[in-house]
Amino acid sequence: MLRSDVSSDRALARPEGREGRAASPPARAATSPRGTSPHGAAPPPAPTTDELLQLLTPDGVRRAEPTLDPWVADVDDERLLDLYEDMVVARRFDIEAVALQRQGELGLWPPLLGQEAAQIGSARALRPDDFAFTSYRENGVAYCRGASPTDLVRVWRGTALSGWDPRSIGMATPQVMIGAQTLHATGYALGCRIDGVDSAAVAYFGDGATSKGDVHEAMVFAASFRAPVVFFCQNNQWAISEPVGLQTRRPIADRAFGYGIPSLRVDGNDVLAVTAATRIALDRARRGDGPTFVEAVTYRRGPHTTSDDPTRYVDPEVQASWEQRDPLTRVERLLGASGALTEDRAGAIKANAERFAHEMREGCLALPVPAPTSVFDHVLVEPSAALARQRSEYAAYLAMFDDGEPR
């Protein structure tokens, strides 16, 4: 179900030559009950599964979904176990990072609890030569791209502004300026098009980010230049304390229509559906059909960050309803029933997750504090004389304290 009425433009129609892979039923009804209060004060009710593309129900039942099914035909029990393992690892290191923060070892951490399927399902659909441009919460994506356990905590411990060399893992430094990375992804994708390669860029952003001008500009540029970029929006229902109804009065995926960008609205807690949707979008990008917008409807079950107090604004009933829709539980149910998730296997997965979390803790505690004069490093590629002067003056100043007392 590609949410697009713009099939008169051939390039924006569904992929060709893949009979039945992306049927194109009519776009959603033009009206939606979402966000009916004047200022979106109340969070919208959780969308029913009928409104979302879904392959795996919260009860662990594998449903047929003609748009998505062909795109995960290769995901057998073994591949699904891999995705499950990634989700277990992500949940585990996320908990470890929260603990590190509570123990004073990290300054801050933005938990991803509840968003494992959205992050793992999408990131595992990427190729190594693709490039992800994310915000701060996508630690599950970073893990899939190849960030080491220690890489994930550098920024939050305050020893670096970037956890890794972006080109080494095909993922930009996570963006703190909400929405800016969508433009960067679009520019990168434009570069791929100019270079004549079939790599793609993926922009990850939140529901709150969709209100930003940069995100709007990114979609305009991407559509006009037919850039091979995937706009992957994790609608986790919250932008800190603001419910999604304050950002939009209609489903976020519907926004894309106005830019001439087809969209998919999937159950973001369903790792299979997310994988399929991302593959559809990437396939369009690689074929030269331009951008696609994916809204993964999920829920942020933790605080915005470790500094947040969601008890001030979260309705416990809504929270509980989302806990019933856990992304890991449904896979456990499915694979438990099929017999693929044996006790041994579950134990091995858990051990892997423990190992990753342990390495994260050890790596975190061992991170060296950078040298004082490193604050002057890399301002310019060729350091300026003026900054070199500031640096040597400060080094001389510090040297006065070498024996503990100013000389």
């Binding site: 670096a160 502004l161 060399d165 430094t173 960067h184 791929c192 310019l380 590629v381 004389a385």
Partner: protein
């Protein structure tokens, strides 16, 4: 060599950059078929194609943000902002991303982006078309900010800016676009991008200017010479980083400094230059550094812009004050 306008010298600079490096791409509003509103990019899309000379949607943050992504991909983007006043929507990307991605990534990602901005007043334009935003950019670590005073520097410095691995804000003094001079396209031996140049030698007072006021400063030197005052004109060229070494050498000879710019005074480049030179040359200065600048008001309507813009007389008045000439118009006498 035949004389060319500054606009044409910039255009040939862009053409050479596109020829020399296949990773150079141009982005901007109306730069393709139209050749830019000042025709600086005239003919470039025709000759290099729409993938290298791109008309973009009308969105300045978008232009800079997309340039960031292109730089991530290894391109060397040259962005045109149509007018100075429209650089503000791009300031977000410039300040929060372009300027510090190299720093943020510990040197892993370079941002060899050039941002061309026609700037400054004197063309009788409507609001937002006559501004001098250099101080905002010069205050931002990680950006180089340069400007040219004539066609030769326009050509040479633009090519140097594009070849530079740091982001460069390249300010083009739009009222001098039609200034003509001979232009040598040889880059070898050219003065480095971050250096000021003494364009008129003198002994009584140093007059530091840049961009549109370099012409004014040269005129002032000629006028003052007739009155027996020898002005040394320094074209700063690079506003960030500032070439204080060249200024210091000059002021140690002249013992006096006047700084001129069109931009508003408070928090402007003149203040930074005055402080920097005072720190270095306090022992030899014979007068406080004088500033000749735009006023601390928004850029005024065209019919009164001549009052806002420093002109020959205001520059000479400041020179008179600094050298302590009796007929100085302003109240105080510096050398007493």
């Amino acid at each position: 060599m035949t004389a060319t306008t500054m606009a044409a010298a910039l255009g040939s600079g862009l053409r050479r950059a596109l020829e020399d490096d296949p990773r150079v791409v141009l982005l901007g509003e109306d730069i393709g078929r139209l050749g830019g509103v000042f025709r600086v990019t005239d003919g470039l899309q025709r000759d290099f194609g729409a993938d290298r000379v791109m008309d973009t949607p009308l969105a300045e943050s978008g232009i800079l943000g997309v340039a960031v992504g292109l730089a991530y991909r290894g391109f060397r983007p040259v962005c045109e902002i149509q007018f100075d006043g429209f650089s503000y929507p791009a300031v977000d990307e410039l300040v929060t991303q372009v300027s510090r991605l190299h720093y943020r990534t510990g040197g892993a990602i370079r941002m060899p982006i050039t941002v061309r901005i026609p700037y400054g007043g004197g063309i009788g334009a409507v609001e937002h078309h006559s501004e001098s935003p250099e101080a905002y950019f010069a205050h931002t670590p990680g950006l180089r900010v340069v400007t040219c005073g004539g066609p030769q520097d326009a050509h040479t410095m633009l090519r140097q800016a594009i070849a530079c691995d740091d982001p460069v804000v390249f300010l083009e003094p739009k009222r001098r676009y039609w200034l003509k001079d001979e232009v040598d396209e040889e880059l070898d031996g050219a003065l480095p991008l971050d250096r000021a140049r003494v364009v008129v030698e003198g002994s009584d007072v140093t007059l530091a200017a840049y961009g549109p006021l370099v012409v004014t400063a040269r005129d002032a030197a000629i006028a003052a010479r007739d009155e027996g005052v020898s002005i040394e004109v320094v074209d700063l060229r690079s506003l960030a980083p500032l070439d204080l070494d060249t200024l210091e050498r000059s002021v140690r000879r002249t013992h006096r400094l006047v700084v001129a710019h069109e931009a508003q005074r408070s928090g402007g480049l003149g203040a930074e230059i005055a402080a920097g030179v005072t720190e270095r040359c306090f022992d030899v200065l014979q007068a406080p550094v004088a500033r000749v600048t735009g006023f601390d008001a928004p850029y005024p309507p065209a019919k009164v812009e001549e009052h806002f813009l420093p002109d020959l007389d205001r520059v000479l008045d400041a020179v008179d004050r600094v050298v302590g000439r009796p007929h100085a118009l302003a109240g105080w006498s510096a050398a007493s």
